[in-house]
């Protein structure tokens, strides 16, 4: 049976009409037997009712002030976007996939065919950019990249077009790393990371366990996403989505962490560096 914390997430989704029929039935069955979750449900309903307040009228003069300021404010000119011809997009895509595969090949060679997941399971510290792309998944990147909107214009070194606002972070062309091969994987990774297909793929393939992290990004993530304070040595229980989000945040920040495979999704507030 699930812990009540998981049902609490379901109760919240249920109140918003965002829970599947199947999960709804399971939730009802659980609540019929669990007083704690019944109370939780009642409390959330009370909070919902309290938040359901009538809209306040806009103070007088609001629109007039907006328009007076609009009169003094210039609009930003849109940046021109140069679209790559289709054949160039495919060329760029092929180069992106080749980089990933080459990186994977070198990486495996340099580690005597051990995958990153092996390393993770052994509880060895390693860098975020490695962890974001377990080798077993990287093999699939080529296939994943081919679908739908190929992010050809994001490929490092091949960018020829300005992307429209909002500006995206520049993909890193080189990554400081002691081993060449992981650096290559990391260099090829940013365009893939922005691709929804690849992100979904990675999230579906998450391996459960405990993340040991203690850097700035991890601390900020705990405060912002969990709404909790950071305490060294504390174990935070996460949902699968949060675990994936934390992994993405650490990867994005290129912050070191350690992953220990296991049951459930956890973060251990650790000060190792």
């Amino acid at each position: 049976m699930k812990p009540c914390e998981e049902y609490e997430v379901w109760i919240s989704a249920f109140l918003d009409g965002e829970l599947s029929a199947e999960n709804r039935a399971e939730l009802m069955e659980h609540m019929a037997a669990c007083r704690s979750c019944q109370r939780y449900f009642d409390d959330l309903v009370a909070i919902h009712d309290a938040l359901d307040q009538e809209e306040v009228p806009v103070p007088e003069g609001f629109a007039e002030q907006v328009m007076a300021r609009v009169g003094e404010t210039e609009q930003e000119k849109p940046r021109r976007t140069i679209l790559l011809p289709q054949w160039r997009q495919w060329t760029a895509l092929a180069a992106c996939c080749a980089l990933v595969l080459l990186g994977l090949w070198s990486f495996r060679s340099s580690r005597g065919d051990r995958t990153v997941q092996d390393t993770a399971a052994a509880g060895m510290p390693y860098m975020a950019q490695d962890a974001g792309i377990p080798a077993a998944q990287s093999e699939e990147f080529g296939a994943a990249c081919e679908s739908e909107e190929a992010p050809a214009e994001d490929a490092p070194r091949l960018r020829t077009a300005d992307s429209e606002a909002p500006p995206q972070p520049e993909p890193k062309e080189t990554v400081e790393a002691s081993e060449d091969a992981p650096a290559m994987v990391a260099a090829a990774a940013p365009p893939v990371r922005d691709n929804a297909v690849c992100t979904d793929y990675m999230e579906d393939s998450l391996s459960a366990g405990t993340l040991y992290a203690g850097g700035e990004a991890a601390r900020r993530w705990v405060e912002e996403e969990l709404g909790q304070t950071w305490e060294n040595g504390r174990l935070y229980e996460l949902t699968e989505e949060e675990y994936a989000g934390l992994l993405a945040a650490l990867t994005e920040a290129e912050e070191a962490f350690r992953l220990e495979a296991g049951d459930g999704f956890w973060l251990m507030a650790d000060t190792f560096s």
């Binding site: 997430v9 309290a50 306040v56 609001f62 907006v66 996403e225 709404g227 251990m268």
Partner: protein
């Protein structure tokens, strides 16, 4: 003119069209800002800034997410920026500081308005101010703006799973605040939600 037509005209510099967009959206934008900021003065400023950002950015607006979705994003971002600026001016270390909650209490309305509000409503408003930015943002978009998870995901540019987690965490945190202040007195505080107290290793 439809909203799309107004948006296109305003993107081309038509102030009259933009004035109509302001009239159509000012109530939603102001109320979103009010719930995010917790007081009318900051809400006014944040809502003004949101509309000005919209005006400046309209020529580049491509409309994938819809004008109102984009406008809500600008509004909640403006509110967060403003709260952070205010916080820095006060020298506070965190938005979640007690100070902000106390500040919200100080700003609570006149006795008559207070009487019209139930105690729980007042406490919920104060509690909202003590949530983290991302929790408050997600909860307000859901509870006040009544957006679906899909729409919230578009506004915040995050995935659906993150929206679900944030809203759930926000409610859980708000409940804890209300329990601590004795405003959910009809219910016994249940065991701590989340993971507090599990620390130490496994």
């Amino acid at each position: 003119m439809t909203v799309d037509e107004l948006v296109r005209a305003a993107a081309g510099g038509d102030e009259e069209a933009f004035a109509q967009l302001v009239a159509l959206h000012e109530k939603k934008v102001y109320n979103l800002a009010l719930r995010m900021c917790g007081n009318p003065e900051d809400a006014w400023d944040a809502a003004q800034e949101a509309f000005l950002s919209a005006w400046r950015g309209l020529p580049a607006f491509r409309g994938e997410a819809g004008f109102s979705t984009w406008l809500y994003r600008l509004t909640s971002n403006a509110a967060i920026d403003l709260l952070r600026r205010t916080k820095r001016q006060r020298g506070e270390s965190s938005l979640d500081d007690e100070a902000l909650g106390i500040d919200a209490v100080d700003r609570t309305p006149s006795p008559q308005e207070r009487a019209e509000e139930s105690e729980l409503r007042g406490a919920v408003t104060e509690g909202l101010a003590r949530l983290t930015d991302s929790h408050r943002q997600a909860l307000v978009l859901r509870e006040v703006q009544e957006l679906s998870y899909e729409e919230i995901a578009q506004v915040l540019e995050v995935d659906l799973g993150t929206v679900k987690s944030r809203i759930s965490r926000a409610r859980s945190a708000l409940r804890k605040i209300l329990q601590e202040s004795g405003n959910l007195s009809g219910y016994l505080p249940s065991k701590p939600t989340g993971t507090a107290g599990k620390g130490g290793g496994r």
